[in-house]
Symmetry: D2
Subunit: 112 residues, 4 copies
C-alpha cells in the first residue's frame, strides 16, 4: 500500500535533515526549485501535438521520465508548504470551494 | 476534517466535467498550466531576501495569495496525473527510494 | 527609428538606477523575474490549439498583451546580462555556431 | 565584430528552415520552449545565496553554462517574435516609455 501524503512529507523532511540541506530550503529557493521542476515536466511536451501528448505513457522511457518529474514537483511543493507551515490539502479544498462559486455550472437545457 | 487527496482529485474531475473543460485538459496544456502556476508562486518571492521570504505568512494578504497559488499548483498536478492515469503518491514514494540510494547520508563522526 | 539593443540596455540601467532598484537586481532575482515573465507569455497560449496560437495577433487586446510580455522578457534578459557583464549577442552567435556543428543539415537527395 | 540582432534572427530562421523544424515552431510551442530555457537559467541559481549568485562567472564551467542559457532564451524569443511578426525592439522601447510614466522618479530632496 502506498504511503499517504503526510507520511511522504515526513520522509522528505527527514531526508533533508539527515543531509543538512535545510539551510538551502528557504521558501524562496523551494519556490524556484518547484518552478524549475514544473518546467522540466513541460519540456517533455513542448514540441508534441495534443495527440502525441496524450500518448506519452506508451513509451516506457518517457513514462519513467514523466513519473520522475511529477514526483519532483510534488516533493518541492510539500517541502515548500512545510517551510511555511501551510496545510496543502486544506488550501486546495478551500480553493475548489471558491471556484465552485466563481464558475457556476451552466444550466442544462430546460427542454430536455 | 480535510478531504484526502483522492477526494480532492475526484472533485477536480467532476468540476472540469460539469463545465465541459475536458477538451482543453490535454496533458500538454495541463503541464503548461502547472508551470505557469508554479511561476505565479515564485513571483511572490522574486524580489525578497531569504529572510523576508521566510516571513511571508505574517501578512494576511500575502498568506492568502501563497495558499491560493499552492492550491493551483496541486490542482493542475492532480489533473495532469489524472489525464495520464499516473499514481502521484506512488511516483513520489519510488522517487524518494531512489534518492535514498543516490544520496547516502554522510557517516556520523566515529568518535561520538 | 527604433533604438538599437545597446541603447535599450542603457535606458533600462538608467531606469533602475534612478529608482534605486539596483539592490534588488541580483543575478538570482533577475533570473527568477525572467522566468516569471516567460511564464506570463506562455499563459496567453496555454489553452489554445496550435491554430488559435498562430492567430493571437488578430485581436488587438491580446496582441498588446503579447508585445508587452515579450518586452518584459527582453528587459529582464538584458538586465540579467548587465548584472554579470555578459555580451548577449556574442553568446547567441557562439551558440548558433555550435548548433550548426551539432545538428548538420540533412543532405539533399542526390538524384535532383 | 558581433552580428546585430537582425542578422542573428535571420540565421535562426535559416537554421530552422534547413532542418525542416518550422512545423514545430508554432507560437505556442516557442513560448513553452522559451519558458523552459528561462527555467534552465534559473536552475543554476536556485540554491545560491545572493552573494554566490553575483560570483557565478568566476567559475569557467558555470560561466559557459550561463552564456549558453541566455543564448537559448534569446534564440527562442527571436523565433517567437518571428512567428508572429512582432518587432521585439520596438515592443521594448514602447514598454520602457510606458514604465517611465507608470513609475515616476522619486523627487530629490529639495534642501540639497
Amino acid at each position: 500500500m502506498t504511503e499517504d501524503i503526510n507520511a511522504l512529507r515526513r520522509r522528505l523532511t527527514a531526508f533533508a535533515t539527515a543531509r543538512n540541506w535545510e539551510p538551502f530550503h528557504t521558501p524562496k529557493n523551494l519556490a524556484a526549485a518547484l518552478s524549475v521542476e514544473a518546467s522540466e515536466l513541460l519540456e517533455i511536451f513542448q514540441w508534441l501535438t495534443p495527440e502525441q501528448s496524450a500518448a506519452v505513457m506508451a513509451d516506457s522511457d518517457t513514462a519513467h521520465r514523466v513519473r520522475d518529474e511529477v514526483a519532483d514537483v510534488l516533493a518541492y511543493l510539500l517541502q515548500f508548504c512545510d517551510s511555511l507551515a501551510i496545510d496543502l490539502l486544506s488550501a486546495l479544498s478551500a480553493k475548489i470551494d471558491r471556484n465552485e462559486h466563481r464558475f457556476p455550472v451552466p444550466e442544462a437545457d430546460s427542454n430536455t
